[in-house]
Amino acid sequence: MAPYDENQIDADDLVIRRINPQQHVVWDENRGCRRISSKVFSPSSGRNDGMSVDIEQLMLSDGVDPRHYVTTPVFMGSVAFSAGAARALGLLVGYDPIPKNPYHGEVWGGCRPNRFSRRQKKGLTEASRWYVELDGVDIV
């Protein structure tokens, strides 16, 4: 899908990014904690690829419990940030429903859809809060 910004996604709407605890968590000796890798906040590398997310409002509108939906498979954790926070970083947020996930969306880079700058990755990390928390893991 070509990158675009969906005007039906409000600034306060939450965008969810799933976290695989076996793959996305690293040891940080500086901070003395286990934390999420910055690699989580990276788009795929195809020309128009973005970062896969789940759009909370779509699930709520369908009467679907978002926390249950994104915890599939059950080992997944997740973080969430507002669409407004992503846009403030120059990112685009849009719908990209797929057969296996009608609530699927994408976050695209502004200048280069498939590449987030360091500032954008850092900004997404700072804007993120746990949605489905992983015990003993920090976001930053």
Partner: protein
């Protein structure tokens, strides 16, 4: 085992010892895949052997979306890079797969955050943050990885002691 003095000469004039087409780094033994460094010498690669097998064998959708396993070529290159960057006394890095078959190598130690995002063979976005000064460096590297040697050297216990004594 390579010492620091030897390590500072690594990669000058290209990646010496990296032979992507002839080095039997990878082969497939269904259902598991294996990433192999020709003659693994460093503790890092020995420590990461199972990890590389794991990230190249991830099932489609491993990230809850449409994530793919790390590609063979990328894993092979990353493993060789790790082997060439090895400095005794520096802990084994974290290895994090990307959704798109890429892989990130990272250390968070000695007040430095170092992240080497391996997007493919000879395609690296390297980042270092110095927590003491707030300085950040980001480099897009293709053939000359000399700068990384100095970065990794800064993670060593020896450098840690020097910083403490200042």
């Amino acid at each position: 085992m390579r010492n620091r003095a030897q390590a500072t000469t690594a990669f000058q004039g290209g990646i010496r010892g990296y032979e992507p087409t002839v080095d039997p780094i990878s082969s497939i033994f269904p259902p598991q895949t294996r990433v192999r460094v020709g003659v693994p010498r460093s503790k890092w690669i020995i420590d990461l052997k199972d990890r590389f097998d794991e990230i190249t064998s991830l099932p489609r959708g491993w990230d809850g979306y449409d994530g793919r396993p790390v590609t063979f070529n990328t894993a092979q290159f990353a493993a060789n890079l790790i082997e060439r960057l090895f400095i005794a006394g520096v802990p084994t890095p974290n290895v994090v797969p990307g959704t798109d078959g890429t892989v990130q190598i990272e250390w968070h130690r000695n007040q430095y955050d170092i992240e080497l995002d391996v997007l493919g063979p000879y395609e690296i976005v390297a980042f270092r943050r110095d927590q003491r000064t707030g300085d950040e460096q980001e480099l897009e590297l293709q053939t000359d990885f000399t700068a990384l040697v100095g970065w990794i050297d800064g993670l060593s216990a020896e450098q840690q002691q020097e910083a403490r004594s200042m």
